[in-house]
Assembly symmetry: C2
Homo-oligomer: 391 residues x 2
Amino acid sequence: MQREKLNQASKILDEIYVDMWLTLVRETVMNNDPILPFISTIDFTALSGIIVMRGNKNLVIAGHNDAEGVRQTKLYDEVISYSGDFKDALREFLDNNNIHILAVNFSIEDTASDGLSHGLFLLLQEIVNSSSNKPQIVSSATIISKLRGNKSIVEKQLIIGAINTTEQIFDEARAFIKEGTTERQIHQFFTDRIKHYGVQPSWQAAQCPGVMLGPKSVPGHNAPTEITACKGDVMDIDFGVQQNGYCSDLQRTYYILQDSESCACEEVQRAFDTLKEAIKRTAEYMKPGVTGEEADAVARNYVVSQGYDSWNYALGHQVGRMAHDGGMILAPKKGRYNSKQVELPMEAGMVFTLEPGIATSRGYVGIEEMVYITETGAEFLSKPQQQIFLL
Amino acid sequence: MQREKLNQASKILDEIYVDMWLTLVRETVMNNDPILPFISTIDFTALSGIIVMRGNKNLVIAGHNDAEGVRQTKLYDEVISYSGDFKDALREFLDNNNIHILAVNFSIEDTASDGLSHGLFLLLQEIVNSSSNKPQIVSSATIISKLRGNKSIVEKQLIIGAINTTEQIFDEARAFIKEGTTERQIHQFFTDRIKHYGVQPSWQAAQCPGVMLGPKSVPGHNAPTEITACKGDVMDIDFGVQQNGYCSDLQRTYYILQDSESCACEEVQRAFDTLKEAIKRTAEYMKPGVTGEEADAVARNYVVSQGYDSWNYALGHQVGRMAHDGGMILAPKKGRYNSKQVELPMEAGMVFTLEPGIATSRGYVGIEEMVYITETGAEFLSKPQQQIFLL
């Protein structure tokens, strides 16, 4: 996988006229760069540079204590080992290779492309200023966004694997949750199933799954409480697993039937149907070239047209090695969503969540599905929830 | 622990005349700041600021989706929830609180204090430039170095716990390793014991332990090979575990006796005794106020005085939540060791490794111990290896 990504990166450099892409790291167990797992299988201790060049060449400049470990990976065309000052080793490389445009990992908008620490940026500036060519430093956000966004066939299959396990656990929970079950007990049930399947939670364990049970529960990213399931409550469970390094992120709606009921109350059912339709319409609209803002508007306008408030967060985000995988997002151009991230066009190979929500008097109703962008449209990777899970 | 560190941080701000310390983060599951586990028990998705003020006050500015999770931790005096633009929320806070000196997490020298990404630094600059006071941005390296370096009683006990488990596994390995055992088998034995004790490797699993077996093995951070233990080989195993969030990092020397031998050959024994003495002399010299350069010189000069080459790395580093815990290190002022990091004075509560090494014709000989700086000197946390482990 890493070799595939390194080759892909070289091709992107050719396209965007960047001479060299440098991932500058040190003590990566402590201070990571989120792109590192895509281009390396090991960690680094001393200052190191993972370098991709135009013309399908890559190499690493590593401290002598790390160099043999880098060679063992057999991922790179060359390993340059230094035992003196890293600054000299990198400066020499920049000068010898006539580098004019140098991309490094920083971005105001995109966390996934913002792995370079500010201290290392200052160090790089020193090196560049004392080099002969004084290359221009540019952001690698385009490179990283394409590398992370464009899932290979293998990556897509791994994501589907994580989704399948997630859907299995959602299904198993239907027999567990009943009147009197607390948010904390539901969280524990999912946690036990995560262990059973030998996978990891997609985000911090204490908040995965997020359980929003009935009208008193606070929507968002928080830990379960002692709130208890009552008849007539609706419940939104936000859950995903990381399996073989790739994540899922889904939401399912459950409802505790009242004695007299054989289906959910009308208020909840109408909200659910509205969300389901909003997701369907959006997926039908999505294809390469559509912007995040445009996709968000399809779902949001539909939900608002049905008389509901607009939900106060993005319609969707990318998924990959992380549940929130950075780069382009599906959101309105306002508030905390940076305009650049929502103005980007979709590309084939991207994976997005679609997760609108509606607050009702019985609790929060949410559905979250995952879709994959093909050359001509979008396909669901999850099996869209068609009916409320009645308990 | 986090509350203790937050209070300690406020006191440090008072001492160094900094008005506010800001840890600026987003999507921390993906892009971490190494100080976060010291001042938070949860992860953040939207842009957030963990803020410590002079006068023992702390707070968090968090996105509305994260805010309830932050409140649940009960760690902070205040949680400010925003749903619009983070920039406005932070600017308002800076203006209302009359901030003049603002410390943030960047450092050219110290990875542990360099958690702020360059993109977020640029964002912060925008915010500061549009604020009324335009506070001066300074590095928080002094704050973080003290917070991480100065271990509380609880932290010291957790480190001792990790050391005890490590020493137990080193001891168990004596019955396992024999003529014909490969580096890879030794690595697997340690890996199995890590699982048995329910702990984690202190650094990346593939290189923990590092096994340097006989003269053909390459010293440094790399994965085990098919090199096989032969009679007369010396072996250096570099190993540590993370237990309850805290790490150990130790090296032990093993020797495969030849048929005629009842102790190690003279060349290996002399190297071992030299290292042992170098560590002893250094520990006796260490106390608050001694610089990293001075401590390194004690061991290095002694080893060189015995006719050996100086080893090509630092004498020691700090240990804590990480095996390489950043801040001050014990090393000569040259090459890849930044002078600021070796010129710092030791303070009570710091934990260091001491790990000189000597290459012999039979393989690499290394000992690594861990010491704790007291008010008046240094005490060993590990039980120093007195004899080569003969196999």
